[in-house]
Homo-oligomer: 424 residues x 2
């Protein structure tokens, strides 16, 4: 790997706020904050460790801006982060889902709808934190490998921040996704190969002098990037009136989001911002890419990689890096991991849209489908405060419902035709 | 027209908040609040007249929710509107557009980005107000004619509110738009005919007993519906720190939005919420549907209808009902009306995305394109506080940029190939 260039002056002046170090999730070894992501001793993933001794109050947070920067004191960013050009994601709606709850038999259900983010997926949260790290490390190019949501989030964030962006996609990506990713005008490089080959190429690039000055949000900036998902936990708790949900259903791609939401809840308890009450975390996968669910059901603590085959492409990671940690979290909190097939995903997308007017991505179909299955199989308490995540926008996965959705009737422009069609 | 069923008890109990009556925009005749839209004497359009004698303070507004209901005291809705199931649109971002401003030579430029609304266009604002009126009038079906954004906004709003929805579209609409409109599960009726024929059919339906209990948001609920656009004016002023912009560029479809933003600014002045400072309003059209711009340039005060031919389909109204009022507003405020061709629309969509990370609809391409043209022709003061509206989302009009946007390069997964492509 190319030697990271770090401006140590920046690092000592509060550039990373309360972040104190990186620590290995496996062996606990600590490292100075830098653009590194794997433990030199055990190759375990590094994550951000904090010094929260300064504390933070609800009032401080509530006085902040209506975006993730209201939680700046809990993130690896400087206190003045809100004044720097960025997309200001987050503080998306927590929808009181009375209709969906009634239909499923859940008395106190909420949908955390992240389609309201600037590029309409939760990726804006994680990229915003990675962008701050990139600036701190003096990187001039923001990059990633992607098959969709992430490419747009990186392109848009770099545009606003005035950085170069260069994102890598498989060359067989659908035209619509290519346009969406290319819209922000950064460089978009199509790689002749599978998504796995794109990823391998990116790792090569980071290790080569050519990659100097490049911040790959989901590779060498990954420890910072991942922290962005904690903001989902903070927002849900604040929007519930500073309390934790009793049950939450979260999609699993790499598994990072689920583990970071758990981390966020624990931090809120530790800081005294919410009461220390039990919560159960449930993971949701699509059957066509369900290695974590399969491990959970088999009682294994290792993940057996699969070759993804599902319409929920934004969750289609066959070898999820954080899979074992997901199993830990679900076990520790008394939750579970469940999966639904593609037909159930489509049904759930429509159910959410029909009951709440929220048109979710296929990933939202996975979580709502799993929510329904968990109710039906008695794994959820129908009286408990329950949150389900919609992490993306239905406009990005129109093809998933295209074959099963359309006009109710086609008629001539006359009242007789209208009556004859039985619509009156 | 079928006799409107009005619950007069509801109307006297503050159901419409500060709204006192409907008044004819042409002759000033006043009517009780009801589901009517045209003056019985002169056929002029009716609009909501208010009694603001109760007043409202900045502090009251700032203590309200982060959506349009913070302005409930200025809208035809009850004081407890926020507690009723609805999509809670509005309070979208006012983006400080430093990069775009620098590129165009504007020192203090902002983009009001309405793609952040629940169904990603400003239509959620107007539909939310129409929904309240529909509830007050006891309507059970929410309806509209539409070729896109409005159908989704109505379907989603009705779903959340638990009303039936039935929207009418031309049967030759593109598949993607049909899916988007149908996603919310309401009835979607394709009419064999042009958009004009769809509209004529809807008017017939309202006048027939079959249409009893139907609220067409843009027909018999139009006076209420239109008021939703005032919230853009309120938000812009509040987000600028309670001051009016000196210049604002607004798209023209029917022209209603532009006139209502002017109405909103004047109300803020009258209520003492902002200083009484001059502002100039500029209207933006696509050349392929520019009847208002043509009238402006010719110095006419009537609009000559055109047959639309532009990629900016959400603005493609050939006979804009509020066109003459737009001319009045632009003349009175010292603004202008300008148009750009489809190539300039596409360039402007890309310019906005590349500089600010905001991927706008074709309507956003029209306003940003016109903004640029107004600068180039010396019609804008480069030092003045300027706002440009993006009223919709680029994901809905991907086809507009598809032919001109794509991968920078396609390469094999190797560093040599990467270097050879000149990307290093």
């Amino acid at each position: 790997m190319a030697t990271p260039t770090i401006d140590s002056a920046a690092l000592t002046s509060g550039a990373f706020g309360p972040a104190a170090a990186l620590s290995c999730r496996e062996c606990g070894e600590r490292y100075d904050l830098g653009p590194i992501f794997a433990c030199a001793f055990c190759f375990g993933p590094l994550e951000v460790a904090y010094d929260f001794s300064g504390g933070v109050t609800r009032e401080q947070i509530e006085a902040g801006p209506n975006n993730i920067w209201r939680y700046a004191p809990l993130l690896p960013v400087s206190a003045d982060v809100a004044s720097r050009p960025n997309l200001n994601p987050g503080f998306t709606k927590l929808v009181v889902a009375r209709n969906l709850g009634r239909e499923l038999g859940l008395k106190d259900l909420y949908v955390k709808d992240d389609s309201g983010n600037p590029t309409h997926s939760f990726k804006d949260r994680v990229v915003a934190i990675a962008l701050e790290a990139a600036r701190n490390f003096g990187f001039t190019t923001l990059s990633c490998s992607s098959t969709g949501n992430l490419a747009g989030a990186v392109g848009a964030a770099a545009a606003r921040a005035g950085l170069r962006s260069c994102v890598f996609i498989p060359s067989d990506l659908e035209a619509g996704k290519v346009v969406t990713a290319a819209a922000y005008g950064g460089e978009l490089v199509a790689i002749e190969g599978t998504y796995d080959e794109v990823n391998r190429f990116c790792s090569e690039l980071i290790g080569d002098p050519v990659g100097e000055g490049w911040g790959f949000v989901n590779v060498n900036l990954r420890p910072y990037y991942g922290e962005g998902s904690k903001t989902l936990a903070y927002e849900i708790a604040e929007q519930l009136g500073w309390r934790l949900p009793e049950q939450i259903v979260i999609p699993i791609a790499s598994g990072s989001q689920l583990t970071k939401i758990d981390k966020g809840f624990r931090e809120l308890i530790k800081l005294g911002l919410v009461e220390d009450a039990p919560y159960k975390i449930f993971g949701a996968q699509a059957e066509g890419c369900s290695p974590v669910s399969a491990a959970w059901k088999a009682g294994h603590d290792v993940i057996r990689p699969v070759k993804p085959d599902t319409i929920a492409k934004s969750l289609a990671i066959g070898n999820p890096a954080d899979g074992p940690y997901v199993l830990d979290v679900c076990k520790r909190t008394g939750g579970a991991v469940e999966d639904v097939d593609d037909t159930q995903v489509v049904d759930a997308i429509k159910l959410l849209a029909r009951t709440e007017g929220v048109f979710g991505e296929t990933a939202g179909g996975v979580t709502v489908g799993v929510l329904r299955k968990l109710v039906e199989t008695g794994q959820l308490d129908p009286d408990a405060t329950t949150v389900v995540l919609n992490t993306g926008d239905g406009l990005k996965t129109l093809d998933a419902i295209e074959g099963t959705t359309g006009a109710t009737a086609t008629i001539r422009p006359s009242l007789d035709a209208f009556r004859a069609a039985g619509l009156a």
